[in-house]
């Protein structure tokens, strides 16, 4: 069975800048959700543009449903793209624009009406979809973007940072919707720079960093990789010595730096270390005044992983 997506040393250059290093991977046929994880500038949008046929690869092969997607209507008819960014044609109403997008996907007549009703209902925009884009909230516009991607019932749904700007309730609704879509047999690729978001949706993750596919695996495998990254925690306490005495007793400690009002601890496996810290504070063993994670962002983690893989 042909893989839904197949990249064979596919790369993309923007002039002198390498947007994506030669990358090889496959997304299997059939339904399911794959997370595309990486910090900003990792190459997620570049990869998405290759897959959705907006850009051709500078080198290698990109195949979607067994064919090159760039300017290929037969492939594009089976892809639904939700791009990042809050961009819509000015002066148009949501439902009129959606009708046009449906017609541009080859839908007509009753089938188009039905598809529009179904797509608007799926994202909860039956009423607000008639507004001008300028009158919609950012969340509503994001839902409209999603509705146009669902309109033609695509086999592959590609979403670029779909949770950006969404309130928690909308996020949960979108996650539910994506799970339903995956269960109905669609292959879904969701990009995000937040592991927690992706982990709630899928067990299969592609890790990108600086235009390179760094790792591919399950959430557990990726978490294991991330746990090897020493996280720096600044602990404010009345006695820095007390913090140091407590910290050196734990295997997770990698480095210790004393400061005037506390200490900075570099620890591995924060998921096992932090509960211990919590217990020590609660028992009064550790006179903690403040806790400040210094580099718990993905960028730091990815830089660590890059060094680790070098």
């Amino acid at each position: 069975m042909t893989a839904t997506v197949s990249l064979e040393r596919a790369s993309l250059r923007y002039g002198d800048i390498l947007g994506l290093s030669p990358t090889t991977f496959e997304l299997p046929a059939g339904g399911g959700i794959t997370g595309l994880l990486g910090p900003n500038g990792a190459g997620k949008s570049t990869l998405i543009q290759l897959l959705s046929g907006l850009l051709p690869p500078s080198g290698g092969d990109v195949k979607v449903f067994g064919e090159a997607p760039f300017r290929n209507p037969a492939v594009l008819a089976r892809i639904g793209l939700v791009p990042e960014g809050d961009r819509f044609p000015v002066g148009l109403r949501g439902h009129a624009w959606l009708r046009m997008m449906g017609e541009l996907s080859g839908l007509t007549g009753a089938r188009l009406d039905q598809a529009m009703a179904s797509a608007l209902a799926a994202v909860g925009m039956e009423v607000n979809g008639k507004k001008l884009f300028s009158e919609m909230s950012k969340g509503m516009r994001q839902r409209m973007r999603l509705s146009q991607a669902l309109l033609h019932d695509p086999d592959l749904l590609i979403l670029d940072e779909p949770f950006n700007g969404m309130d928690p309730e909308s996020r949960l609704q979108l996650m539910d919707l994506l799970r339903q879509q995956a269960a109905s047999g669609r292959r879904i690729l969701v990009s995000s720079h937040i592991l927690g978001e992706v982990a709630q949706l899928t067990d299969r993750i592609l890790l990108l960093f600086r235009g390179r596919l760094l790792a591919e695996g399950s959430v557990a495998e990726i978490r294991e990789l991330l746990d090897r990254h020493p996280v720096e925690l600044r602990i404010g306490a009345e006695s820095a010595q007390a913090v140091a005495r407590w910290a050196v007793e734990h295997d997770e400690l990698v480095a210790l730096r004393m400061e005037e009002a506390g200490a900075v601890l570099a620890v591995r496996n924060p998921r096992s270390f932090l509960p211990k810290l919590q217990a020590a504070v609660l028992s009064g063993e550790l006179p903690l005044r403040s806790l400040d994670p210094i580099d718990l962002n993905l960028d730091a983690v990815f830089q660590f992983l890059t060094k680790d893989h070098a």
Partner: protein
């Protein structure tokens, strides 16, 4: 999985774009286009009425009407109309970065510049016909009106297509278009021989009737005016427009346009 819809044909793509973007005509840019072409004639009519009211014997003659047509409509209003309408075509989608949403649909990409341009061509052409109709009120010869309308409509077709092409080839396509339409074109009077054929004004004058009589002897650089038979002139403008729409489609088809709106090396 469900059965796939039939892929949209070029004609269906054009129809969808025209229907989808139609509301844009009824917004500021659309009405600016209307005013640009209708207002000069309306003002002339108002002026003529005022003069007639003050001096009952006053009547605008054919010569004055020709000046309004050639000097105001053809040389000034039409180029500005093109400069306002053309950026609302495919260029607008590129600048607003909404084009990738359309490019991600299974449409024939090459038809997109024409599809968006046709909407503005139809709008502009309709108002051109209204404006030329208004010239009758100024005393224009009724028999000359169809050719005057044909001259401006076919020139609008060709100039709009030309500007669309420039907009796809150059980042500052409007600037190059403005230079061509407002600087190069009016120089037709001093262009020798066949060089005149590389201006739109030459064809407009060939179709609508020469304004040669208005060239004064004091214009020392003025060259002898050449003409093209009007059916041929209409054909040239039409074919030039078709060529420019085709070139625009070819350019868009070949140009990778990503989400950032920038071109990438393919």
């Amino acid at each position: 999985m469900t059965t796939l819809p039939t892929l949209p044909t070029p004609a269906r793509t054009v129809a969808a774009l025209v229907r989808g973007y139609f509301p844009r005509l009824l917004q500021v840019r659309g009405w600016v286009c209307t005013l640009l072409i209708v207002l000069p004639v309306a003002l002339s009519l108002g002026l003529a009425a005022l003069m007639h009211f003050k001096q009952p014997n006053f009547n605008w003659g054919t010569q004055e009407t020709l000046i309004v047509f050639h000097k105001v409509l053809a040389q000034l209003a039409l180029p500005i109309l093109v400069l306002v309408a053309a950026p609302a075509g495919i260029r607008e989608d590129m600048e607003q970065r909404t084009l990738p949403l359309v490019l991600s649909r299974p449409v024939p990409t090459w038809i997109l510049p024409f599809g968006k341009g046709l909407l503005w061509f139809g709008w502009g052409a309709a108002w051109i016909i209204v404006a030329v109709g208004g010239l009758a009120g100024l005393g224009a010869d009724f028999a000359s009106l169809p050719l005057m309308a044909a001259a401006l409509v076919t020139a609008f077709w060709a100039e709009l297509a030309f500007m669309t092409f420039l907009g796809l080839v150059f980042k500052r396509g409007t600037l190059w278009g403005a230079l061509y339409l407002l600087i190069w074109d009016p120089l037709v009077r001093i262009f020798p021989g066949n060089l005149q054929r590389f201006t739109f004004i030459h064809y407009i004058e060939s179709i609508a009737g020469s304004r040669g009589g208005a060239v004064e002897t004091s214009q020392l650089l003025a060259q002898q005016q050449i003409t093209t038979p009007w059916p041929l002139a209409i054909l040239v403008l039409f074919l030039f427009g078709v060529l420019c729409w085709a070139a625009s489609g070819w350019k868009l088809q070949r140009t990778p346009i990503g989400l950032a709106g920038a071109e990438a090396e393919g």
